[in-house]
Structure formats: structure tokens, C-alpha cells
Symmetry: C2
């Protein structure tokens, strides 16, 4: 499984992903699930992935190949596409084609050849946008009503987002919200695991303005996790029934 | 969907269930999912149900018929069975037989003819016990390590239980914990809905010592829900990253 979450706020975009990949409980590995395509100051596209590793790796390899091709065109490269909407469409198209090809080879196991992605970013003179791309290539977009998107194991970490995140949330609070959302998920689902990748894209910067890998022994994260547990227990004691 | 949760603590048993039943989003009804078989002071068996309504209703009707039969024996009636373990086995057996019969009639839709149950109780001179009975009739039991069991939509309400519930938890705190666990679930899953049924079985009382139906407009519950939201937001503000 996986947990990735992205927030689209007035001040910018905050994304967090875990790195655990597993084929059964007895075959666990660490793979990065957050990828950026960037022309600093001109365009930033951040992609987070969930689902079949062979599908997501192949999709990203194809997108990368098309983007770095010397004959790349606005129709073929996500770094040249004129709008973020077209970027999402291109990624959706590549994802569904890759998934279909792999599923065809897998026969009756085809259902495991699917993947979904969160695509967030901005091009110069454009708006920040964030999409959740489904395995079939269609997508939905984050809006002011629901300024966050999740893929993978989304349930454990949703209550905290519902309670504290609005488009007005500051980037500092947003980082805290995604980390606490991940903390709840890590506690309850073994197939979501450390280390974590955190990225912040400030509005109009058109580049990743903060990027951090949070390791298992990260003291700040562990201290936050401990403080949150304690605050929850205190809150529990304080509530009257 | 459904959410039912049971805690087995040193001081007694606390159970909470919702009442929403749905066949699709456009066909929603209210059905009680908590049932008690009781000989006050002698034996209490509390059953909570999740899954196919036709399976759970038929299973309960059969258990009731067998228990009230004038020729009931310790082998046929859960009110006469010598131990709680045998009660769980009888319920499991009845559940799996009912489910199989209905599934056979449903052909390719057979997968929707399944249900699970939480069975909690105590007989005089016996221990309190609590079981989660799977659709196939097998079961697991609550233990000191994990003193709670859940059926239905269990994910949203699990973090609070993990953080505050141990076998040492008082009955008052246990009621609060299950209500807050339900509150998180109600917020996130439309197929779990009010009113709620709450039951407490104090240790060695061998009867339901507190039983409450909590309606949609229940002021105490709404006030608790509001206070918990506020406490969570305060806790969020207080945590440093």
C-alpha cells in the first residue's frame, strides 16, 4: 500500500509521501513515490504515485523520456505542454496506456496492474493546480471546498485534514497537518512506512522551495508524534460526555 | 455499511452500534444492529451485526427461535449453552449456514450475502468474553493486548481507540471513547448514521446495566462532538513541528 497526500492552499502546495512498497507482507522495499519535473522559475510538476510499482515506474520513465527528448514538442512533453490541464491529460493518457499494456500481459491478475497519481504544480503565468489521476487516466481536481487530495490508504489520515485544513491554512500549519495525517496512517497500516518525502512549492515560485526526506530516526518527527499522542490524550480527558 | 465497536475492560463491556442500512446510496433505512439475549443475573449475550441485513435478520430469528423453543437444550439454545465459547460457536454455525443458504440462491451476487457479528457477554460464574465472528463462522476473541473489536467501517474510528483504550479504562471513559470513535466515523462515511445504540454490561452483573438510544438531535452527543473538534484543533495548534 501507500499513503500520499497533497494540499493546495492560497500560499502554495504541500505534498507528503511514504516510501514503502510491498508484494505481500514478506517482501517489503523502499521506493521513492515522489518525483519532480522542474524548470526552476518556469515550471514545476510534482508527481506522487500509488499502486503497481511496475506501472508507476514505467509511466514515469516514459514521461521522462518524452520530456528530455531533443525533439520534444508541447504535445509530447509535460515540460512544454501549454497548461497544467494538458499536463494532467498527458500523464493520465500515459498512465492508462501503460497500465493496459501490463494488464494484458498479466491475464487474470490484471486487476493488480493499476495505479493512481497526484499531479501538482504551476507554470509561469499560470495558476497552481492539483489533480488526482485515476488508473483509467481520468482525473479530478482539488478545489477550495476540498483543498486536498489523497491516494493509497487515505482513511486513517483523513479526519485530521477534514478538521484543520482550508485554503487559508499557512504552509507551516499545512506541513504539520500532512505529517500528523501520515502519523495516524503509519500507526495503523503496516504497509505504509518511513522514510517520508516532504515537498513544498510556494505560490508563483515555480520550483520546489523546500524538500526534505524524513528518516525513521528523525527526532523532530518523533517528538511531534509523541506530542500529538499526548495532546490527543489530554483532549480526550478534557471532553465531557 | 455499518460501524459497531465493543470494548472488553476489567470493569465490564461497552458496546456501540449505528443503525444505518443501505442498498445503494438511494435506499437508506434505519435498522437496529444491537440485540440482547438476557436472563438477568444469570446470563447476558449481546450481539452486534454488520453486513447483509437478510443474513443477519434470519440468523437472529433462528437463534431466537431456538432459544425460546420449549424443548431447547444446551446444544440448541444460546441461553442454555454451558460456556460463552459454545455460544460463539453456535452463533458462528448459524451465521455461516444462513449465509451459505442465501448465497446459493443469489448465484453471482453471492458475495453480498455475507455478514459478521460481535458477540459479547457473560454467564453466571463464567468470565466476560467478547468475540468477532466472521462470515464463515470462525472467530477471534478480544484480549488484554487488544481489548476492542470492530465490525463494518473500522478505519476512521480506530486511531482514538488505539490511543486511549486499555483494559484498565473506566466504563465512563470507555463510553466516551466509543462515542468519539463513532463520531469520527459518522463524519467520514455517509453509510454510517444516527441514531446510535449504546449498551454497558458491568462485570458480573450478567445483564445490560445501561442501555441508551442516542438520537440525531441528542444535545449531549452533539456537544461532545463539538468539544472534541475544538479540543483536536487546540491540540493541533499546540503541537510543534
Amino acid at each position: 500500500m501507500t499513503y500520499c497526500v497533497g494540499l493546495m492552499l492560497n500560499e502554495g502546495i504541500v505534498c507528503l509521501s511514504d516510501t514503502r512498497t510491498n508484494a505481500g507482507l514478506d517482501n517489503i522495499s523502499t521506493y521513492r513515490k515522489m518525483f519532480s519535473f522542474e524548470v526552476p522559475g518556469e515550471r514545476i510538476i510534482l508527481i506522487m504515485t500509488a499502486g503497481s510499482l511496475s506501472v508507476t515506474q514505467t509511466t514515469l520513465a516514459k514521461l521522462d523520456e518524452a520530456a528530455t527528448d531533443t525533439e520534444a514538442t508541447p504535445k509530447s512533453s509535460i515540460l512544454l505542454a501549454p497548461t497544467m490541464l494538458q499536463v494532467a491529460q498527458m500523464i493520465g493518457q500515459t498512465l492508462s496506456e501503460t497500465s493496459e499494456k501490463i494488464a494484458n500481459r498479466m491475464g487474470s491478475n490484471a486487476s493488480s496492474a493499476s495505479a493512481s497519481m497526484i499531479v501538482a504544480g504551476q507554470r509561469k503565468d499560470g495558476e497552481m493546480r492539483m489533480f488526482l489521476i485515476y488508473p483509467e487516466g481520468n482525473f479530478i481536481e482539488a478545489t477550495a471546498d476540498t483543498p486536498y487530495l489523497q491516494i493509497g490508504e487515505h482513511k486513517y489520515g483523513k479526519p485530521i485534514l477534514d478538521r484543520v485544513v482550508t485554503t487559508e491554512t499557512s504552509l507551516a500549519d499545512a506541513k504539520k497537518a500532512v505529517l500528523l495525517s501520515m502519523d495516524s496512517t503509519l500507526r495503523s497500516n503496516l504497509s505504509v512506512g518511513m522514510p517520508l518525502d516532504l515537498a513544498v512549492i510556494e505560490k508563483d515560485a515555480c520550483r520546489v522551495t523546500e524538500s526534505r526526506r524524513i528518516m525513521d530516526q528523525d527526532e523532530t518527527f518523533n517528538e511531534m508524534s509523541r506530542a500529538w499522542s499526548e495532546a490527543l490524550r489530554d483532549a480526550f480527558v478534557g471532553v465531557k460526555v
